[in-house]
């Protein structure tokens, strides 16, 4: 069966976590169209098609898996910036983070995150969570109108 595969953005400063996330997505064959970014600044560069990402393919990702604690520009800052921009206010964003601290939860939802996932320590659970997320956002979810489809 054909599945629409769309781009997934991973924004995380930890290469290890990024690798684990890729592994997880891989279990559902969702790792083909993934862009990994190291911090919030790179994420914004990508989204706004500037800096190193000037020449990227245009279009919005299906989902952004966004970590909170990152150097330079953190996840909440990205969220705030992105949500303030009408171009991105419907972009699906899932905060994927170690923190279950209430202030972060509070702030994240206030800023307009779509979902909030606390990274489980047990890797099985982690893999299950990420892959579920990936399937949901990249496959199941109907994108807002106007979002370009990814490569099939």
């Amino acid at each position: 069966m054909t599945r629409q595969m769309r781009r997934i953005l991973i924004v995380d400063d930890s290469p290890r976590d990024t690798e684990l996330t890729l592994e997880a997505l891989g279990t559902e064959n969702l790792a083909n169209d993934v862009v990994t970014l190291r911090d919030g600044a790179e994420a914004l560069d990508y989204l706004y098609q500037r800096g190193d990402w000037e020449d990227r393919e245009p279009g919005l990702p299906a989902v952004v898996l966004l970590d909170i604690k990152m150097p330079r520009v953190d996840g909440l800052e990205v969220l705030r910036t992105v949500r303030a921009d009408p171009a991105f206010d419907r972009l699906p964003i899932v905060l994927v983070t170690s923190s279950r601290e209430e202030p972060d939860l509070e702030e994240a939802y206030r800023l307009g995150t779509n979902a909030y996932l606390v990274k489980p320590v047990e890797v099985d659970k982690f893999i299950r969570a990420i892959s579920t997320l990936g399937v949901f956002w990249a496959v199941l979810n109907e994108l807002p109108p106007g979002t370009p489809e990814g490569a099939s």
Binding site: S99, E101, E122
Partner: protein
């Protein structure tokens, strides 16, 4: 024990000196008006009497005068008669002595007529008559003299002729007539004057009687009025004395120090208590001596306020220290108000001093304790601020812990898993076991960290207590606990539970832990029976009991039940980090309650969760 004698004397003088005079004057005024009127009347009568008297005297004088005139007229008459007799006698006897006598009588007659003339000078008619009389008399006497002179040498016939011719002149008759006329007129005058005299006497009598009567009247009225006045005065004085005595009794009976001053502030009298307290005789206190019983620090302000009150006639009030006879100063509240005597118009000041020493001491104590309270409050606020700061630090700490500690754990676990996957075919059992151990240990550490973070968070979380009905929370917790171990046969016995004053979230956490434990430790049982109901509790508290038919525990180690990471069973027997009951205790303590456990090995365990009763009663 009345007012001291010194005071009595003072009172008498006080009354007499100013009050009495003024009041007597005021009350007697109407009487005086009446008396003045009567007196005027009397005076009028007296003046009338005096006038009448004078009139009587005047009329009397006039009568006397008239009588005198008559007497002189008589004298004249008799002198003339004698003169004529002597003339006749001489003519008959030719005795020289007769001639001399006649001449003498003539002189007398003339003198009398002169006298008459003088005396009738005021009466025109009479005077004219008298003058005529005098003229006639002079003529007669002259003629008589001439007859007498002629008779010396003449004979009887000549004398007889002379006499006859004299007689023919009828001088004596004329004289007589004139004299009679005079006398008649004078008599008539006498009559009139007598009448007038009688009239004057009559009027005088009336005036005297009138004066006497009005005099008596005045005296009578005065006496009556005076008596009435004195009676009233007497009554007033008695009433005054009675009310004064009453006042003294009251004043002496009061615990306050009572004082009475005049409008200059000079003390007139005080009550017994004042004397007793200060040990000073009020008569000894002159204006300016107030320092003898007022505390020096209060003196200036007190005098100032007192003088101001006296001059503005406004009531006086002041707290000040009064010197007791033993030298101690005691706080008193002094109040005085002016009283104006309606009769005399004099203003006296009546004051009292009440002992407020105790009150002031209490006030001082209150101020002290208030200050201490404020101090305590301030330090409490400081502590609270410190605590808040510490809490914030802890927040930041656990925040970084939750990120920084978990990530490596995840990576260890993650890559160990991936390694396993990668090497799956090539690894022997031991190697696999090693990898498995790595992963399990990582998970354990992760759980420990999570539990610790939860435990810490539950301690720091803000508390929102309210009236909570635990039933629903118990059911929820039971469901969760049961879901954690599917396939188990568990009998839940949930009895009616009392409402408690609690934080819903924290109570739920406690129940989760207790019920979770109950489910866990009844695992060896075929049928687990877990009961949640109400237990007895002391006043103001409510107790929830959670009991199970599980493996129980040894009461010897009951003190370790609630220790952090303390366990009474091995990891092999039952999994767990040993934070569950510590968490329960922590949250229960935060809500102002207690928790304790009972059990016996193999005979189950019972936990008593005690929380405060709801603050508001329903309804």
């Amino acid at each position: 024990m009345g007012l001291s004698t010194g005071n009595e004397r003072q009172l008498a003088t006080a009354r007499a000196s100013v009050g009495a005079r003024r009041s007597a004057w005021r009350s007697v005024l109407p009487f005086l008006a009446g008396i003045a009127a009567a007196g005027a009347l009397f005076t009028g009568m007296v003046v009338a009497s005096v006038a009448a008297g004078r009139e009587v005297i005047a009329t009397q004088r006039r009568v006397t005068h008239t009588l005198e005139v008559l007497r002189v007229a008589e004298a004249l008459d008799s002198a003339i008669s004698r003169a004529e007799s002597f003339q006749r006698a001489f003519l008959l006897a030719r005795n020289e002595s007769f001639r001399r006598d006649s001449a003498e009588q003539s002189e007398i007659a003339l003198a009398a007529s002169e006298r008459l003339a003088d005396m009738t000078a005021d009466n025109a008619d009479q005077h004219r008559r008298v003058e005529q009389l005098r003229d006639l008399l002079k003529l007669r006497l002259t003629r008589l003299e001439s007859v007498v002179a002629a008779a010396r040498e003449a004979d009887h016939a000549t004398i007889a002729n002379m006499i006859a011719s004299e007689a023919a002149l009828r001088l004596p008759e004329q004289l007589r007539a004139e004299l009679d006329a005079v006398i008649d007129a004078e008599n008539a005058l006498l009559e009139a004057r007598h009448a007038r005299q009688r009239e004057a006497l009559g009027r005088a009598r009336v005036a005297y009687v009138g004066a006497a009567v009005t005099g008596f009247l005045v005296f009578g009225v005065f006496a009556v009025l005076l008596r009435a006045h004195l009676t009233v005065q007497g009554e007033v004085t008695t009433a005054l004395a009675a009310s004064e005595a009453q006042f003294r009794k009251i004043a002496d009976g009061l615990p306050q120090l009572i004082y009475l001053t005049d409008e200059t502030g000079q003390v007139r009298l005080t009550n017994e208590r004042w004397r007793e307290f200060t040990g000073i005789e009020p008569s000894a206190v002159r204006r300016g001596d107030e320092g003898s019983f007022v505390h020096p620090d209060d003196l200036a302000g007190t005098l100032d306020a007192w003088n101001r009150a006296l001059s503005t006639n406004r009531p006086y009030e002041r707290e000040l220290r009064i010197r007791r006879r033993d030298g101690e100063y005691v706080w008193h509240l002094s109040r005085a108000a002016p009283l104006t005597d309606s009769l005399s118009g004099e203003t006296l000041w009546l004051g009292s001093m009440t002992d407020i020493d105790e009150r002031r001491r209490q006030e001082a104590k209150v101020r002290e304790s208030e200050a201490r309270v404020r101090e305590l409050h301030r330090s409490l606020e400081e502590r609270a601020a410190e605590l808040t700061a510490v809490n914030r630090e802890l927040e930041a700490f656990s925040y970084s812990v939750s990120h920084d500690l978990r990530a490596p754990l995840r990576h260890i676990d993650g890559f160990a898993t991936l390694l396993e996957k990668q090497l799956h075919g090539t690894l022997d059992e031991k190697a696999l076991r090693y990898l498995k151990t790595i992963r399990e240990a990582t998970r354990d550490l992760g759980r420990l960290i999570d539990d610790l973070l939860d435990f810490s968070r539950l301690g720091r979380q803000s508390l929102r207590t309210m009236r909570v009905a635990p039933g629903e929370l118990v059911r929820e917790a039971a469901e969760v606990a049961e879901r954690a171990e599917p396939g188990r046969r568990i009998e839940w016995k949930l009895g009616p539970l009392p409402d408690v004053e609690a934080d819903r979230t924290l109570l739920r956490v406690a129940l989760d832990n207790l019920l979770g434990n109950a489910v866990k430790y009844t695992r060896p049982r075929e049928l687990a029976t877990i009961t949640v109901d109400a237990a007895e509790s002391e006043d103001g508290m409510r107790t929830i009991r959670v009991s199970d038919n599980g493996v129980g525990f040894d009461m010897r180690y009951a003190s370790k039940l609630f220790g952090v990471f303390q366990r009474l069973h091995s990891e092999a027997e039952f999994e767990g980090t040993g934070i569950g009951l510590a968490t329960v205790q922590r949250v229960v303590h935060r809500m102002g309650g207690r928790v304790r456990g009972e059990g016996a090995p193999g005979a189950g365990a019972t936990f008593f969760l005690t929380l405060p009763a709801p603050h508001q009663e329903e309804g």
